[in-house]
């Protein structure tokens, strides 16, 4: 299936599922971090100005720390996320699913300098698009991935409907498709939702349009355990 979910085998013989984050959401998180850092520097520059020459030295050190250490320190000590990543629900993990530690965090953030070339993350973007796991060059070298922290379907998003038992047993993958669709219905136009719901007559029993959609939502409600 064309999907951003990655299965990671563990010593216990099961597979963990990570949901990888793509370039767009990561760019947004980076922008947010950029503004956060700029804001912080601007606010701090006022008291620092009052310190005169001492302040000049301090502000240069601060600037250095903000540029090179800010991401690494946050990723190691704040559950894998800078404030920007946190706002978008992202986190950095080792590729084996464990929390990122200092060596890997240092590598991925120092090599940012190369990802940034030739213009605002040109190499980083190409690398992300070419690699299987959306890794920029720094991620490949460090062995890290950026994932969505909450990787399950948000069940709260599924609209309420009268629960209905599916007419035939569904595999886990089929269930997941159905739940994904149901969670996305509020974002779709009515026509598109009806069109999609019409694709599975063996579940909806050849009901038309609104009936088919209601039926699918009912099944989705049943699947997440809502009962009448």
């Amino acid at each position: 299936m064309l999907d951003t979910a990655r299965e990671i085998p563990t010593p216990e013989g099961i597979e963990l599922t990570l949901r990888l984050a793509g370039p767009v959401v990561r760019a947004l998180a980076w922008l947010l971090d950029l503004f956060a850092r700029l804001g912080f520097l601007i606010v701090l520059s006022i008291p620092i100005r009052l310190l005169g020459e001492l302040g000049v030295g301090l502000s240069l050190i601060l600037y250095f720390a903000m540029e090179w250490l800010y991401p690494a320190l946050f990723e190691v000590y704040a559950k894998g996320a800078t404030p920007g990543k946190k706002a978008f629900g992202l986190a950095v993990l080792h590729s084996d699913g464990t929390p990122v530690q200092m060596p890997a965090a240092l590598i991925r953030n120092l090599l940012r300098a190369v990802d940034f070339l030739p213009l605002i993350y040109g190499f980083g973007l190409v690398s992300m698009l070419l690699s299987r796991d959306f890794q920029r060059i720094g991620d490949i070298a460090a062995g890290t991935v950026v994932v969505y922290r909450d990787n399950a379907v948000r069940h709260g998003l599924i609209p309420n409907a009268v629960p209905a038992v599916p007419p035939l047993p569904l595999t886990a993958a089929e269930q997941r498709v159905l739940l994904d669709l149901a969670a996305r219905v509020p974002q779709l136009t009515e026509e598109r939702a009806h069109e999609l719901a019409g694709l599975v007559p063996y579940l909806t029993g050849n009901r038309s349009d609104a009936g088919a959609l209601a039926r699918l939502l009912g099944i989705a409600n049943h699947l997440i355990g809502r009962r009448t």
Partner: protein
């Protein structure tokens, strides 16, 4: 077993495990999460959870249950396999032995980097006093004039463009500038080593041209008495950053029997000690350069002695540090 019975049977145990995970997180004053599981039982409980997830998948229970158990297992995996050791101990260990050991392990890259850096540096320093025009090929005339002013006999503070710049301001500047150059040299090694190569030779030529020019201008005494103190730490750190960068590039050019990605991952991991060590060295160099080197009341002989002592200290550290069993 039907799903609802399955869930009913294990719900309490899952909740206990979730409580244990919560108890690891940052504790809030108002609510203390009590865990009812003995720490020694955790691995067994985790394996049990994994088995239940596998069962749930195999029996095609609902995706919702599988997701829920999957989240719990993922959090458990992170808690169990992501455990950290005490980082302050590690840091001490690192400077006692780990750092010099990794410098010796990467001695081939260090030597190549030293050749690329000290080669042009020493060559220009030796040539330019006899062929002074050579300096103008490397650097523009204004730059050379500026340097000459910094070390001229009129300078109250050696090595400063503006005499009024305070020590602390310069300290900040040296950190901001020099550590960044170190990091850039390292990172640009990723471009098949070309970046690191460039920075090494470029910095070698630059420093060599400046040194040669000042020697020719008869300011050798001022210049060397300024640079002697921090030269060991700064020059060796530049050399190491080049070595670390070359190591990255070499992994891409000649990955051996690994894929390029795997070779790069291993090389990057092995170069971390070098990078951490060299940035510390640059911090020390910045301190010396800002607070000791510009002092004009210290006689040059004393400064040369301190500088020589630094070189001996540093090279001894790299050659012998961390060789004993205890370190």
């Amino acid at each position: 077993m039907r799903q609802d019975i399955f869930e009913e049977t294990y719900r309490a145990r899952w909740a206990e495990f979730a409580d244990w995970l919560k108890s690891l997180g940052p504790r809030r004053a108002d609510q203390s999460v009590a865990t009812t599981i003995d720490v020694l039982d955790i691995p067994a409980r985790y394996r049990e959870l994994c088995q239940q997830l596998a069962l749930a998948r195999d029996r095609q229970y609902s995706a919702e249950l599988i997701d829920r158990l999957g989240q719990l297992v993922l959090a458990g995996h992170q808690a169990l396999y992501g455990a950290r050791s005490r980082s302050t101990d590690q840091l001490m260990q690192f400077f006692r032995g780990g750092f010099p050991r990794s410098v010796r392990r990467e001695i081939r890259f260090v030597l190549v980097a030293a050749l690329l850096f000290f080669g042009p540096l020493l060559l220009l320093t030796a040539i330019i006093p006899s062929y002074p025009d050579f300096a103008y090929i490397i650097l523009p005339a204004e730059a050379l004039d500026g340097v000459q002013e910094m070390y001229g006999s009129a300078a109250q503070q050696l090595g400063r463009k503006r005499q009024a710049d305070s020590d602390v301001a310069m300290f900040g500047f040296y950190i901001f500038n020099n550590v960044r150059i170190g990091f850039q040299t390292f990172a640009s090694g990723l471009l098949f080593g070309i970046g690191a190569l460039f920075y090494l030779v470029y910095n070698g030529l630059f420093i060599g041209a400046v040194t040669g020019h000042l020697v020719h201008a008869g300011l050798a005494r001022n210049f060397f008495s300024f640079t002697a103190g921090h030269s060991a730490f700064e020059l060796c750190a530049i050399c190491l950053s080049g070595a670390a960068g070359l190591k990255l590039g070499y992994a891409l050019i000649a990955p051996g029997r690994r894929t390029r990605g795997a070779a790069l991952r291993i090389a990057a991991k092995e170069s971390v000690p070098l990078v951490v060590g060299l940035s510390t060295m640059l911090l020390i160099a910045a301190g010396i350069e800002a607070f000791w080197s510009p002092r004009t009341f210290v006689p040059p002989t004393a400064k040369y002695a301190v500088g020589a002592a630094m070189w001996i200290l540093l090279l001894t550290y790299f050659a012998f540090g961390g060789r004993t069993r205890g370190a």
